[in-house]
Symmetry: C2
Subunit: 134 residues, 2 copies
Amino acid sequence: MNKLTGDVKGKRVAMVCGVPMDVENCPVRDVMDNIGGKWNSLMILSLADGPLRFSGLRRLIPDISQRMLTQTLRDLQRDGYISRTVFPTQPPSVEYALTDLGRSLLELLKHFVDWSLANHAAIRTARDTYDGAP
Amino acid sequence: MNKLTGDVKGKRVAMVCGVPMDVENCPVRDVMDNIGGKWNSLMILSLADGPLRFSGLRRLIPDISQRMLTQTLRDLQRDGYISRTVFPTQPPSVEYALTDLGRSLLELLKHFVDWSLANHAAIRTARDTYDGAP
DNA sequence: AGAGCAACTCTCAAAAAGAGACCTACAATC
DNA sequence: GATTGTAGGTCTCTTTTTGAGAGTTGCTCT
């Protein structure tokens, strides 16, 4: 019997790092989907230094389409990572900022940034080796 | 002038957390693409307790297609996170295991698992609030 | 002899992402 | 006073990714 499986409510289910990886309703997958999206974590990192407006974010991440920018912001807002505030100027301006939850996640993401910088060279080397050997 | 931009080799570029977010050749994006894929980090977590074979991984992550399993394993192998060892049994069996680099990343991912468990309730609440207010 | 496993690959359909046009309303420029 | 620009989007169309599932090769077990 595999130590990597367990029972949750009578249902046989995979366990990863002690967490039941039930396909639906798995906390880890839920969060991973958020940080896992192509733009999501980049967006949170971009708001690290303070609130930004729609067009400010576009300038900061020049290769995101408006469509994906809108959608990513909505997704992150929905899950409580960022807030959206409309100021009644003419034309209205909309400011996006990290919430407490978002700042909490940001702390984790910063470790990733550090790790990336420290290990980038090793990854590039591995990749070149792999690609070089047909 | 925005503190969020800087110059890299004479090219104006966005800065995030002090890191130049040059669209190509950005270390952070490079790593984020790896942990960011839908299955990538789940795969690394799945190998946390020891090496597994192709079919073992399928059982552990029942909702991944064979196609994506193959591709995810190749990607992670290419970037040096996992190793692939073929044993000359009949039929040959193939074992996937974390490398040192993979185990190093795993330590970071474990923090995510912890964070997910701690904050999952808050995310669900935020989501329900957002969805409940049309 | 027939079924099953292991580790894939291949094809086709569905879903997600990207490109880019379009929209409303105001402000500044020529 | 006509054009151009900005802000914060939406809409449509095309391309790229994913997913579902059948097929493959060779051996083993019943």
